[in-house]
Subunit: 387 residues, 2 copies
C-alpha cells in the first residue's frame, strides 16, 4: 500500500536533517516548503511557474475542495492530481483548521465537527472518518488526520482534554484509512493507492502534554508526523522551544512537518530544530498585499519611495520578476490594480522561499548549517520591515 | 528620423495584404493583432507569456498612462519600453477615445478637450499638441493623432463638422511631432527618435465624408493610417463596407490600422478588405468574464455543463491552458474566483487571436485566403454562442 512512501536521510548537521522523501508522485528533497494551493491553485501562480522555480510539493485544503467542487466530483475526474493537472506530490490537510476558523457556525463533539459552509450556509459534518474518506477520494500523496485545533491561549486542562481527543481522533483516522486501503469502505473510491497519512502532535505550549501527544500519536503509527497548534499567537521562543523538544521525541526515520509556519526566519530556526517540511500562506498572501521578501529584508512595494526605483526588488534574486522588472514598474502595477502585480509578486516571494530552502539544504549537505543560519538571520534582521 | 519605419508588402490575395512592418523595436508581420496593454500590462498576462504565443506588438493607452504613473515619470525611466520591460514594438493611442468615454466631465473645444480624471477628479487638458507630447515622452513606436470621437448615430452634419475638426487636429499633431523631432519643444524629452505617427480617418458611416477624410489626412502625410469611429454600434455590413471603401482609398505602401475591432470574424472580414493591423480588448476582457474563443465557436466556461468535462477548451489549440487543463478545472477556478482563471483564460483567448492571424497570413501567402475565409466563417457560425 504505502510501500512507496519513505524518507531517506542523506545527512544531518546538528538537529538539521537532509533527506529525500519518496511519494507516489515523485520525490521531495527535504527540508521542503509547500506552497498553499487552497482551492487546487496556488493563488496567482500557474503550475508551470511553480515547476520552473522548483516547487516539488503543494498543499491542498480539504475544507475548500470538499465544499467546491466536491471530493466526489474530483474522484470521478481521477483524483486531485488529474483534476488540477499537477503531477508532482500533493499534501492535503484534514479540513479541521478551516472548520474551526472559517465555517460560519460549528459545534464540536466527540464524534466530529458539525459546521455551516462559509459559501452558502449549508450544513456539513466533518468527523475523523469523513476527513479520511474525503482525502482518500482526493488522492493526495500525504493525508492528514483530523485534529482538534485549540485556541491560544488555553489552560493546561483545556489543552489536555483537546490533545486527548485529537489522539482518539488520530486512532479513528488511521483505522478508517486501513479499512479504505483494504477496500472495505464501499462508498469511498480512493484515487491514490499509495497515499500516506500523517499524525498530528498537539498539546499547546505545555511540554508534558506535547510529550504525551507524541507518544500517543506514534503509538497509533503513521507514515509521518506533524506538529500542529503552533504559530497561533504564542511567543516565538515558546514556539521554537516546543518545536525543538517535540521534534527530538519523534521517530528519527520519518518525516516531521511543522504546520502553518512561517516566516523565512521560522524556516531556518525550525530546520535547526529538526523539521523537514513546512507550509504557509505567507509568501503568497503577502505578495498579494504588496509585501516582498528579499535577501535584505522585507519591501513594501506600495511605498512611494519605489515610484522611480529602476532596480529590481532583489538584486540577488534569480526570479523572472527580478530579472525583468523594476520596483517602479511593480509599484505601478500594484497601485493600478493590475492582475500582473499579483502574479509577479507571488512569483518573487515563492522563489525567495524556495531558494531559502535550497540554501538550507546545501548548508546541511556541507555541514555548514550553523554558519548559514547566523548569516541568514543577521541579513534578515539588518533592515527594518517596511510598513 | 523615422527612416526605420516602413511597411514591406510581401504579397496580396485580392484586397488582403501580407507585409512586414519595420519599427525601431523590431518587425511586425502583418496582418497583425495588437493585444491591449492599457496601463502598461496586458491584463492578466505576463510579458513572457505574450512573447511565447507570438505577440509582436502591444497597444498602450495614453490616457491611463498619462494619469498614472504619468508620462514624465515614464520618460525619466527611459520611456515606456524600458519602464514596463517590453522591448518589442508598442503602439499608443492618443487618449482621445478614453477622454470621450471614461473621463468624468469633458468639454470639447477647437483647442482640445478639457476633462476630469476618472481616478481623482483632477482637471486636465488634452490637445493635439499635448497628445503628441505625451506619446513622444512615452516613446511608443507608433503614436496616434488626437481625433474627435463621434457618438453613433450622428447626423451627416455633425459627422462632417467632427471629421473636419479631426482633420485640423491631425495637422496640428503632425506639426507638433515635426517640432519635437527637430528638438524645438524644450519641455518634451522624446524617448524614441524613430517614433512613427498615424493619422486617423473619420467620417462616420458616410462614404463621401470618409473619402474627404482620407484625402485630408493623407494630405497632411503620416507614416500610416488608421480607420477610426467604427465598431461603435453601426450594423456590421455598414462597418465592412466602410472599411472596404476607406481602405481602398488609402496609400497602398503604408500600413492600415482598423481601430478597436474586433471579433475573430471581423479580423478575417477586414483583412479581406485590406486592413493590416487590429487591436481589441475582446480576447482579454471576455477571458476575464469566462468567455473563451474556440475553433468550434465560443464557450462560456461558467456553464454547468463543463463541471465534469475532462476535455480541453479547444482540442485544436496549442496553448498552455489547452495542453494542460480540462474545462472542468477551468470552470472550478472561475467559479472559485481564482486569479489563475483570469491568467489561463487570457492565455487561451490571446492564443486563439494570434493563431487566427497566423492562419490569415499563411492563407494570403498561399493565395488561398478566400477559401480560408469561407471555412473560417462556416466553422465560427456553425455553433451558437453559449450564453
Amino acid at each position: 500500500m504505502s510501500t512507496e512512501f519513505a524518507l531517506s536521510l542523506r545527512g544531518t548537521d546538528g538537529a538539521a536533517r537532509l533527506g529525500t522523501l519518496t511519494t507516489p508522485h515523485g520525490v521531495v528533497e527535504t527540508p521542503a516548503f509547500m506552497p498553499v494551493g487552497t482551492q487546487g491553485s496556488v493563488k496567482a501562480a500557474l503550475h508551470r511557474d511553480l515547476e520552473d522555480i522548483g516547487v516539488s510539493i503543494i498543499l491542498g485544503n480539504t475544507y475548500h475542495l470538499f465544499l467546491r467542487p466536491g471530493d466526489e466530483l474530483i474522484a470521478r475526474r481521477g483524483g486531485l492530481h488529474t483534476f488540477i493537472g499537477w503531477d508532482r506530490p500533493i499534501l492535503t490537510d484534514s479540513g479541521g483548521f478551516q472548520v474551526f476558523s472559517l465555517a460560519e457556525r460549528r459545534v464540536i463533539r466527540e464524534d466530529g465537527a458539525e459546521f455551516r459552509s462559509h459559501l452558502d450556509g449549508s450544513l456539513h459534518m466533518l468527523s475523523p472518518e469523513r476527513a479520511t474518506d474525503i482525502q482518500a477520494r482526493l488522492g493526495s500523496d500525504i493525508a492528514m488526520v483530523l485534529d482538534e485545533c485549540l485556541a491560544f491561549p488555553a489552560t493546561p486542562d483545556a489543552a489536555a482534554r483537546s490533545m486527548e481527543r485529537s489522539a482518539r481522533w488520530a486512532g479513528r483516522c488511521r483505522e478508517r484509512l486501513q479499512r479504505v486501503r483494504a477496500g472495505d469502505v464501499a462508498e469511498v473510491h480512493a484515487t491514490n493507492a499509495g497515499q500516506a497519512q500523517f499524525g498530528i502532535v498537539q498539546g499547546g505550549v505545555f511540554p508534558d502534554l506535547r510529550s504525551a501527544s507524541v507518544d500517543a500519536t506514534v503509538a497509533v503509527g503513521f507514515e509521518g508526523y506533524a506538529i500542529g497548534g503552533l504559530s497561533v499567537g504564542e511567543p516565538i521562543d515558546v514556539m521554537y522551544d516546543t518545536v525543538a523538544s517535540t521534534a527530538a521525541r519523534l521517530p528519527e526515520r520519518q518525516p516531521r512537518y511543522l504546520m502553518g509556519a512561517g516566516t523565512p526566519e521560522d524556516l531556518v530556526e525550525c530546520v535547526a530544530r529538526g523539521i523537514d517540511m513546512f507550509d504557509c500562506v505567507m509568501p503568497t498572501r503577502n505578495a498579494r498585499n504588496g509585501q516582498l521578501f528579499t535577501s535584505q529584508g522585507r519591501v513594501n512595494i506600495r511605498n512611494a519611495r519605489h515610484a522611480e526605483a529602476d532596480e529590481p526588488v532583489d538584486e540577488a534574486c534569480r526570479c523572472y520578476t527580478c530579472r525583468r522588472h523594476s520596483r517602479a514598474y511593480l509599484r505601478h502595477l500594484f497601485m493600478a490594480g493590475e492582475v500582473a502585480a499579483l502574479a509577479l509578486n507571488t512569483l518573487h516571494n515563492l522563489t525567495f522561499y524556495l531558494d531559502t530552502m535550497q540554501r538550507i539544504r546545501e548548508a546541511i549537505a556541507f555541514r555548514s548549517f550553523e554558519t548559514f543560519r547566523q548569516e541568514f538571520l543577521r541579513s534578515v534582521s539588518r533592515l527594518a520591515v517596511e510598513s
